[in-house]
Symmetry: C2
Subunit: 206 residues, 2 copies
Amino acid sequence: MATAKRIRVLLAEDQTMLRGALSQLLELEPDITVIAQAANGREAHRMAREHAPDVIVTDIEMPEMTGLEFAAALKESDSKSRVIILTTFARPGYLRRALDAGARGYLLKERPASELAEAIRRVHAGLRAVDPALAAEAWGADEDPLTDRERQILQRAGDGRSSAEIATELRLSEGTVRNYLSEAIAKLGAANRVDAARIARTRGWL
Amino acid sequence: MATAKRIRVLLAEDQTMLRGALSQLLELEPDITVIAQAANGREAHRMAREHAPDVIVTDIEMPEMTGLEFAAALKESDSKSRVIILTTFARPGYLRRALDAGARGYLLKERPASELAEAIRRVHAGLRAVDPALAAEAWGADEDPLTDRERQILQRAGDGRSSAEIATELRLSEGTVRNYLSEAIAKLGAANRVDAARIARTRGWL
DNA sequence: AAAGTGTTGTGACGTTTGTCATGCGCCACG
DNA sequence: CGTGGCGCATGACAAACGTCACAACACTTT
């Protein structure tokens, strides 16, 4: 035959300008076609079920449902589509969670646009496409030491909520909330709750 | 003549993938050409002096020098280039500062990619190109009520630094730092320092 | 069955934070 | 030339925060 079938791609990215630009560029590739686009994880999940694309390219930080949750949901439902995470953040914790969720690729938005098409081809061919520098960094990276509760509470504390507010919201006593925060601060080697939240965020644990 | 001269554009954006994608798309336009690209404000400033582009498209949040500082520096040096701010953030404070710095356009990354070329044409023709929804919102927006000192201190506090640390860093007494924070908290109607920093950030005051 | 881990709670203690009153020097604006 | 705004400071008090010890219960792992 003259031309092989094009690789059918679903593109999930909340920033319209980037999504549109990448989609147009990918369409210029002879062996790739963008069959669907989504602006959040939930929409993407629906479209993935409907179209069963060969490859899914998804951002992480999106409204409604993050790309990591989306990837996990796909794995759960035994989707055949292969997932590439495309994100701004070189956080070891993100990469780890992405791979746990079955992602085959992890690409940074700081890389040239040409690498995206290349990654799509690699992943479609059954290979992996993980940013090498990040992979190396993530290798020696610490595990997330936080428990679920600690994470919940740290999120809210980093947002400016007081112990009392957090306690009410989560139906806990105020002392308990302070205990968790104290634990989290110690585990992260932070100086206080805000510092702890900042540290957890930069490592992709929050 | 057969073809008019193309509009010469400088593109400043730190995210390589977006910069590359937009640049390629703009090159597809018959009346636009991207003569230079920069990954931060300082680089952009150098290139603007060197190439004197017709239109400059710049992100705000970049390393070394922000797009707003860059625009202000251009205004200072009587540059003939017209500036379009291209950013993720629909913060009234950013728009205000952008216009103060002489920007002719303010476009959100949430808009379709096609609008960028349109904005470039409008601005090159001497018109303005400001996101209408944002302009309306910014109209009734409050001025930044913070003094320089309050801003400095609030930034650091929002980052998890203690009053004592901030005092040392800025050569102030600890009491003074607490006073400024108290003032800022009151002005912003916040519950505490972290809440205040969050509020100031979302309004583009930080 | 024992050990470990996570969740939740209490009480007590010292530190940090937020508020308020008050004061002084400086500079710009009318 | 005063008046007000800003920067900076001190002292004092109440509230919030961070730490520690200790304890109970559920659940998993060994």
